[in-house]
Amino acid sequence: MALKGLDIFKLSPKKNCKECGSPTCMAFSMKVAQGAVSVDACPYFSEDAKAQLNEATAPPMKTVKVGAGENEMSLGGETVLFRHEKTFVSKTRYAVSLCSCMDDAEIDAKLAAIPKVDYERIGERMFVEMIYVNYDAASGKDKYLELVKKAAALGRVLILGCDDADVAKEAVELVKDTKPVLNGANASNYEAMNAVATGAGVVLGVQGKDINELYDTVAALEKLGNKNLLIDAGSNSIKDAFATAVQFRKAAIKDGDRTCGYPSIVRACCLAKGNAHLQAALASLFTMKYGSIVVLEQLGYAEALPLYGLRQNLFTDPQKPMKVEPGIYPLNGADENSICVTTVDFALTYFVVSGELERSGVPLNLIINDAGGLSVLTSWAAGKFSAGTIAKFFAEQDIEGKIKSRKLVIPGKVAVLKGELEAKLPGWEIIIAPNEAVQLVKFMKDLTA
C-alpha cells in the first residue's frame, strides 16, 4: 500500500534542519512518499519510525502458497475490497470434507464422488481442488492417519483439520511434500502447532472462540515469527463467520492492520448443519465475501455448476474480456446439413446466444469467430468482425469442407455486412437474425418451420 506524505510526516522528526537537502520535513516526507528519496537520507528518523514505515509499505495481505508441483496454488494477496477497483488475484478454492469419525463406507463413497466433478469452462478446469481431513479424537490417531493416506491418494491439496499437535505432527509427516495446510492452531495449542507447521514448512490455519481470541492468537504466532498463516472464520454461527471474514479483510485492506492480512478458510460444512441447500447458499456468499477456501460437505454438479460459474465471473480481470475458443459448435444434434449461425467469441455473447439457440431446439452449427473476445458491435467497430475476417475464418477452418448447408445467420446488429458477405462467400445465403438474443427462439423456429 502506498503511503501518503502525511503518514510519513507524522513519523518524521519535524526539525526542519535541512540536512537531508529538503527545506522542510514536510517536503522531505513528500519526496519519500513519491519514492524520489530514501528515508535514510534523514539523520534523525528513528529506527522505530523506520520499522513502522517498512511495515506500512508491505502488501496489505499476504500471499500464501499451498500444494506442490502442478497442484500449487496461491491464496490471498488481494489489494482491494471490490472487483471494480482492481482485479481480485486469488480465486476462492473449494474443498470437500472428510472426517475420521465417518465409517469406511461413507468415506469410500465420498472419496469416489470427489473426482466426478471435473470439467472445463472457458478455458478453466473446474474440479474439487482440496480435501479437508478432519481429526476426530474419539476415533483415534491410527484411523486418522489411515484416512490422511487414503485422501492423499486422490492427488488434491489436503487440509489437515487437527488441533492435537502430536497427531498433527505425524499426519503432516505423511504428506508434507505435498504442502498441505494444517488447520487447528488456537489459543491453547498454538506454540506446539507452530512448531509442527514451521518444522514441516506448511501453512498453519488459526482458530479462535471469537474474533478477539482469533486476532490475539494470530498476533502471538506472528510474534513467534510465523507469517505463513490462514484465518479460520470459525463455526459458531453463520453471522459470526461472515463478520470475521469481512472484518479481517476490511481491516487488512482498508485500515492496514497487517495482523488481519491473511487468506481465510470458511468451513461452510459446519455452518450449514447438514442443510445442503443452505450450504450451497453459503458457498456462494463466501465466494462473494471473502473466503479464500470454502469447505463443503459435498460438491456435486448441482452445487458446482453455478458456483464455478460465479467464481469465474468474479475473479476475471475487469479489463480483459473472457473468450471462448473459436470454432464450430454443433447444437441440438446438428449435422453437416444443418443451418449455420455465426457470432463472436466474447464469452457472454456466446453463453447468451448459445443458450437461446439451445432453447429453440433447432439443430444448427454455431460458428464462433475469432473476434478478439469483444462483443458484436465492439468487434465490428474495431474491424475484428467484418465480412473480410469472417470469410478468412471460414477459409482457415475449412467450413465449406466440413458443412454442406449454405445458409448463414448473422447477428442483427451487423446487418450491414450482408451484401459484402454475399460477395465474399459466394453460394451462401446470408440471413439476418433479430437484434436481441431473446428473440432468437421464435426466429429460429420460424426460419426452419
Binding site: V246, L285, Y301
Partner: protein, 313 residues
Amino acid sequence: MPFTAKSGKFNAKINAVTIGTGDKAITIGGENVLPFYTFDEAIENAPKVGIEITDGGMEAEPECIQKCYEGCTSVVDMAKKAVTFDGVDFLSIRLEGGDPNGKNKSTEELIQLVNDVAAAVDVPLFVCGCKNVEKDAELLDKAAAALAGKNAVILAAKEENYKTIGASAGLAYKQVVGAESAVDINLAKQLNVLLTQLGVSGQSVVMNVGTASAGYGFEYVVSTMDRVKAAALSQSDATLQMPIVTPVASEVWNVKEAAASEADMPEWGNQEERGVDMEIETAAAVLAAGSNAVILRHPESVKTISTLVKELV
C-alpha cells in the same frame, strides 16, 4: 490486545420503502451499512424474499415446480398456495403472456387475472410486465389502477416508458415504482432522476439494476450493485439511495444448467437440484452484492434464502 475494527457505517442510508398494507406489509432498505454488515450497525429491515408465478399458470412451470403446486388448476389457486410456502414475504405475478411476440394476451385478460390474484391473497404484491416496452406501458398502467390502495410494486419503468408508468403507478395510483436498467449504472441514476423530476417521490421508487445467472456475465451485476451502494452510501448520492429489487427467477430457470433434462445431461444429475442450486446460489450472490429483495420461483429456494437472511441479520 483485542481486535479493533473501524466502524464502516455511513452517514447516508438507503431509503426505507414500505410495500403492501396492513399486517403483512414489508419494509425494505433503511440500512446505513453494506449488505449484511451488521457488525458495523444493526440492520433494521432484513432483505425480503418473494415467490413468483406467471399468467401462464402450471404449464409455464418446469415439472419440478409444478409438483409443488399439486392440485392447483388455476393461477389463482397457485397464488393461494404460493403464499403458504415457508419464507415467502411477498408474491410476484409476471405477466409474460402479454408479450406481442409471444402469446400476446390482451390487457383486459391479464388485468382480470391481476384483480383475481389480488383478491385471493393478503401479502404484498409485485406485478412484473412482459418486457415489451410498448405493451408494458399499457399493461402496467392498468395494473397500477387495478391495484389502487394496495401499495404494490410495479416492475418496471424503463427509459422508454418511464413517463407513462411513472405518472400512472407513481403519481396517479400511489404504488411503488420499479425503475429498471440493465447493468448500466449511469442509466440507473438517470432513471431515478427522471422519475423524481416527474414528481414521483424518491421514497416510493425501487430499482432493478439488472441481473444475470451465476456464470453468465454475473460480474457486471456485482460491480453495478457494488458501485450503486458505494455512491448511495459513501458519496451520499440521494439519486441512488433507492432499495434494489432483483428478479432472479426469470433468469435462472432458463439457463442450460437449470433447464437441461437429466436425459440430455446424465452426468449432471437431477434437474430439480440443479435448478434449485442455481436459483439459491444466484440469489445469495445478489443479496451479498446489495439486493434488498429477491424474487424466486422454487419454494425450496425461497425457504433456503429466507433462512440465510435470518441467520445473517
